[in-house]
């Protein structure tokens, strides 16, 4: 799976979990907390859906280090490679 495909799939999950963001442009540089205004519970939901979709597990201790959408894509990419 290419990085672009992971990003695209991640954006789909975000739009699904946080419907208020529909129509908002999301890029790898989007800061999740501020630019996308996703609160900690919304973020939990997004990560859980991504884990299920990609069949991976991102350790809880890593979650708070995921600041931008690009960080999330990195974390997924790394675990898919494994």
């Amino acid at each position: 799976m290419t990085r672009q495909e992971i990003l695209s799939s991640t954006k789909e999950v975000i739009y699904e979990c946080v419907p208020e963001l529909e129509g908002t442009e999301l890029t790898e540089d989007t800061v999740i907390n501020t630019d996308a205004a996703i609160d900690s519970m919304g973020f939990t939901l997004v990560i859980c859906r991504l884990e299920a979709n990609f069949n991976i597990r991102i350790p809880n201790r890593q979650w708070q280090r995921l600041s931008t959408l690009g960080d999330v894509v990195d974390a997924i990419e790394k675990r898919i490679e494994k």
Binding site: W63, Q64, S67
Partner: protein
């Protein structure tokens, strides 16, 4: 029923109601029950192991699992110093906490993590009998560890149970982190001290489906989690009681629960008081009955003072000066403002201290947070303020500064739990309002 120690409660339940369900938990996708007799047995065995280890101060990275609960109880029962820690504490902070609280044994369900931190363990403490340490705000560099005791926690559980009793056929769902005193007392001890069953939630990945899985009749929640569960229609039909605490709760959430026929009780308390001081029992969730062991005094300036010999903390761990600032002659200065109405009910109206209480129940000490931000925003006029239960950065400037500011604050944000990270920036073209001594007039900030 009042118990003076966890051991007394567990032994009583095991001998008098041994076959009743104490805990529900998940194993292999199935809901499994553990009786009070089995719980007591497991705790005693683990306590014997801990005593035999010769360790004195145990740090427990809480994950809410059965193994974690057994370890916490065993540590308390065996009289060791028990330090409850957030499992997601960043590495650098965890090293500091280990040193500060003299931890000589670190427990985590992740053995790799335990190994990683073993070089930082200390020589322990000389005497920690009965001490249970909770950090006030979870994860900041200058967090204070609040020294509570086995007895103060059990007294707090008694207080909750005496005002809001649970029956033996009740199931209390425990979804909150056990390193937070509200989660520990109101998510776990409250249920067990009433002889009810406690269902151990399965962590963040199961917030949405835990209610359907465990079918609880009661649940303790922070406002943020309640809002999340309501948004996703996750509350089950067997549920009858929702206890909300650890933060201001928007009326719309309380109304949503009431419209579902749920009894809603709102609790006020602090880590320093072993959790609950007052609970709302009637129709008005903001009018709270003071718990039997607590006496509330309103100071001349409106500050809520608490006298509760059985529940108030011993002090902040190894911080006598900080302790003296808030605790003197058995009276705790809460830093919160409030009043007692004509019916003797407590109302909390605001905060005197420079603290933000967020909707996930965690606290931000503003001088500390703003000090960290000042290091990466030199020369900028800014403040941190709460809006909708989340922290916002209020700063003099314009939207064109946005990208640069976000980039500058990022290293500070990465050291904070997600809930404490700046949600957004509010720009103002004017200097921030300040007192003559330069302190920010927080009440005048335009949000």
């Amino acid at each position: 029923m009042r118990f003076s120690s966890l051991f007394q409660m567990l032994s009583f339940r095991a001998s008098e109601h041994g076959s009743r369900t104490a805990l529900f938990y998940e194993a292999g996708g199935e809901k499994v029950r553990l009786s009070y007799f089995e719980l007591f047995d497991l705790v005693q065995r683990r306590a014997n192991d801990l005593r035999a280890s010769g360790k004195t101060s145990i740090g427990i990275l809480t994950d809410g699992s059965l193994d974690c609960v057994i370890t916490i109880m065993a540590s308390i029962v065996s009289g060791l110093q028990t330090v409850l820690l957030d499992e997601n504490t960043p590495d650098a902070l965890l090293k500091g906490y280990i040193a500060y609280t003299d931890i000589d044994f670190l427990w985590s369900s992740d053995s790799e993590l335990t190994r990683e931190f073993s070089p930082y363990l200390t020589g322990g403490v000389k005497s920690g009998v009965g001490r249970v340490l909770f950090f006030t705000s979870g994860t900041t560099s200058r967090s204070k560890a609040v020294v509570l005791t086995d007895e103060s926690l059990m007294s707090s559980a008694y207080n909750g149970g005496s005002l809001l009793p649970l029956e033996e056929d009740d199931v209390l769902l425990c979804q909150l982190p056990l390193n937070h005193v509200f989660g520990f007392v109101c998510g776990l001890l409250w249920g067990l001290s009433c002889g009810a069953a406690v269902a151990l939630g399965r962590g963040a990945r199961h917030y949405i489906d835990d209610c359907a899985f465990f079918a609880p009749t009661a649940i303790s929640l922070v406002p943020l989690l309640l809002g999340f569960l309501l948004k996703h229609n996750s509350l089950n039909e067997e549920l009858r009681l929702v206890l909300i605490g650890a933060g201001d709760c928007p009326p719309r959430l309380i109304s949503a629960c009431a419209s579902m026929g749920l009894r809603v009780s709102f609790g006020y308390g602090l880590t320093e008081t072993s959790s609950g001081v007052a609970l709302s029992l009637g129709a008005d969730p903001y009018a709270m009955t003071v718990c039997p062991d607590d006496e509330v005094i309103i100071a001349e300036d409106g500050e809520i003072l608490i006298s509760a010999p059985t529940c108030v903390m011993e002090g902040y761990y190894k911080m006598p000066d900080a302790t003296r600032e808030v605790l003197s002659g058995g009276i705790l200065r809460t830093g919160d403002l409030g009043f007692i109405d004509g019916d003797g009910l407590l109302h909390v109206t605001g905060r005197k201290k420079e603290i933000l209480v967020l909707s996930d129940g965690t606290k931000i000490f503003l001088p500390e947070y703003e000090g960290e931000l000042a290091a990466v925003l030199p020369g900028r006029d800014f403040a941190v303020a709460e809006k909708g239960g989340a922290p916002y950065l209020v700063i003099k400037g314009g939207a064109s500064d946005r990208a640069a500011i976000l980039s500058s604050v990022r290293p500070v944000m990465e050291l904070r739990p997600r809930g404490q990270q700046i949600r957004d920036i509010i720009f103002t073209p004017h200097p921030l309002p300040r007192t003559a001594t330069g302190k920010i007039k927080r009440w005048e900030l335009q949000l």
